[in-house]
């Protein structure tokens, strides 16, 4: 697939690598929005990016930045800044980058699964949900003045909310969707119940239905090793991946009645409307429902 012509997709910033994964002097090749790109760190440690055609760099990518130890790229003209995550760097939380995982579906499908409460009991049985408590209490959804989509007042009983959990607990959740391909969770920290752990997902859409998921954790957790934290995350994400790759169509249907929602899908309904209004074409399916 060639580089998308969708301006909404092109004008966003995307994470394309963790800075620590770029070895000095080595070229890292990847793809973004259908465009092959190469990343290379210069003598000063700062990365450069070029668009590649037929194996050769053809255009220097103008918009490249390092934030939160991730490399960010915009292939169009950025209409907004890279999102602000004030908690990174100013808190006592532990910051951990959680690698990159490929998922053969669209970015919006991955984001929707990330903020979905009602799959916990069935997909993450024994950790993020249990079969004895499946009910999703009502929560609030709003679009903020800065254009970000939020869900607040969410709660769910989780047998093991994180690698630091000792026992099941009712966990409060907030979801923040600042960009179409970025979502963050703020959830009660098991080791510090008055505060939040934060988990962020940065989707790198290679193509419309093929993504790399970069993510980070920002946790009140000093008792687990990196390996223990990654193991918990990878177990949870492997479960999500196993459902995501079996959802068809892979592109997220935006039009009502293509898929039948219920009350607990309030954020999903809002996300689809919000994407529709944004004009995004990349990774979404704008067909109407066939008349029966």
């Amino acid at each position: 697939m060639a580089k998308t012509t969708d301006p909404v997709a092109l004008n966003n910033w995307y994470v394309v690598a963790a800075l620590s994964n770029l070895a000095a002097g080595q070229t890292h090749r990847t793809r973004l929005l259908g465009q092959d790109i190469s990343l290379r760190t210069g003598a000063d440690g700062s990365p450069n990016c070029a668009e590649i055609e037929a194996g050769q760099p053809v255009r220097e990518v103008e918009h490249i930045a390092v934030r939160y130890d991730f490399v960010w790229v915009c292939l169009g003209r950025p209409t907004q800044d890279i999102i602000d995550i004030p908690e990174i760097g100013d808190s006592g939380r532990r910051y951990i980058q959680r690698g990159r995982i490929g998922v053969a579906t669209s970015g919006p499908r991955i984001i929707e699964n990330f903020f979905d409460l009602s799959h916990f009991s069935f997909v993450h049985t024994g950790t993020l949900g249990g079969l004895n408590v499946t009910e999703v209490p009502p929560y609030a959804v709003d679009v903020r003045e800065n254009g970000e989509l939020w869900a607040t007042e969410c709660r769910f009983f989780q047998p093991k909310a994180s690698s630091a959990s000792d026992e099941g607990a009712e966990i409060a959740y907030q979801y923040r969707v600042p960009r179409p391909f970025i979502a963050l969770i703020y959830k009660t920290s098991p080791s510090r119940p008055t505060d939040n752990d934060i988990i962020g997902l940065f989707i790198q859409p290679r193509d419309e239905t093929d993504c790399i998921v970069h993510s980070f954790g920002l946790m009140w957790n000093w008792k687990n090793s990196d390996a223990e934290m990654l193991h918990f995350f990878h177990e949870v994400f492997a479960q999500d991946r196993s459902v995501l790759i079996h959802q068809l169509p892979k592109k997220l249907p935006l039009m009502p009645r293509r898929e039948i929602p219920t009350h607990s899908d309030a954020l999903s309904i809002a996300y689809r409307r919000w994407l529709d209004k944004s004009g995004l074409q990349f990774g979404v399916d704008r067909e109407f429902a066939k008349s029966a």
């Binding site: 409460l117 079996h246 607990s264």
Partner: protein
Amino acid sequence: MSISAVNLWSWYPIVASRDLQTGAVMPAMLHGERVVVWRSREGRLGVWNDRCPHRSMSLSLGSTLGEMLVCPYHGWEFGSDGNCRRIPAHPATTPSRAARARVYPAIEASNYVWACLGEPASAQPECGLVAGSALSPIRSMHVCADAETVALILLAHPLTATAGQTPAAPACQLEGDMLAVTHAGESGSAICRAQLGLPPIIVCKLDIAGEPLSYAGLIQPTGENTAVVHLALLGEGAQAARLALNRALSRLRDRMPVLAQSVLLPELRDVLADLRQPAAISVMSKGLDHGENNRPSRAQ
């Protein structure tokens, strides 16, 4: 006239009954449509579109719960009519009528599960060829060819115990609404029949080395260029015969790309093309040699 009518009004075989145990859920394909096949605790059969109406998850990855099929993603429970009965996220809420899986007509006959993607034209599968004899399933095998090509290959190359045993010089004959291909040689004979204008079912009577044996190949069109052959014995047969047919089918699959290019196939296609002319539907018998002037001609 076609021997592989692919239509929305016919029944097609999906799986051998014995391969769908109580409580089982499995995926299948029919005419490019993904379907889920399942059997409830009480033995009720379901062939549905393999898609949960909620978030388009494959229901074939789900499980059965008594008389319900459960979606693996959010645990929605569907009754045998396809309607959602319970949404675990809202146990006190009655699910909307829109929360409904698409259910296809399904039936069990002759030890197979059959499904129809549209309105079935008949109450039972139209398998007159095998009527009166029990089908004893041997094996179901995916092959990479369209249903018509598979049917022609099965007509032109009977499944015999040993490779190369097929008697040479097949002859083609119309018998009412059936096409018969007779293979006769020194080692014995094989008569393969297909019903015309209906879903492809090939029945073959073998009589090789003094051992008569009949089998059926039921063809399930899965995609544009893929099919499943459900191979069954007609009546009871010795285990040795089942094994031999099983092996012969494996050989046939391995040789499929070669057989699809076989000179016999265009000849058979020509016969079928001639049958499309109304005048041609009369007595017709013609040897199918490979010679230039031996194209099957219309009977006078």
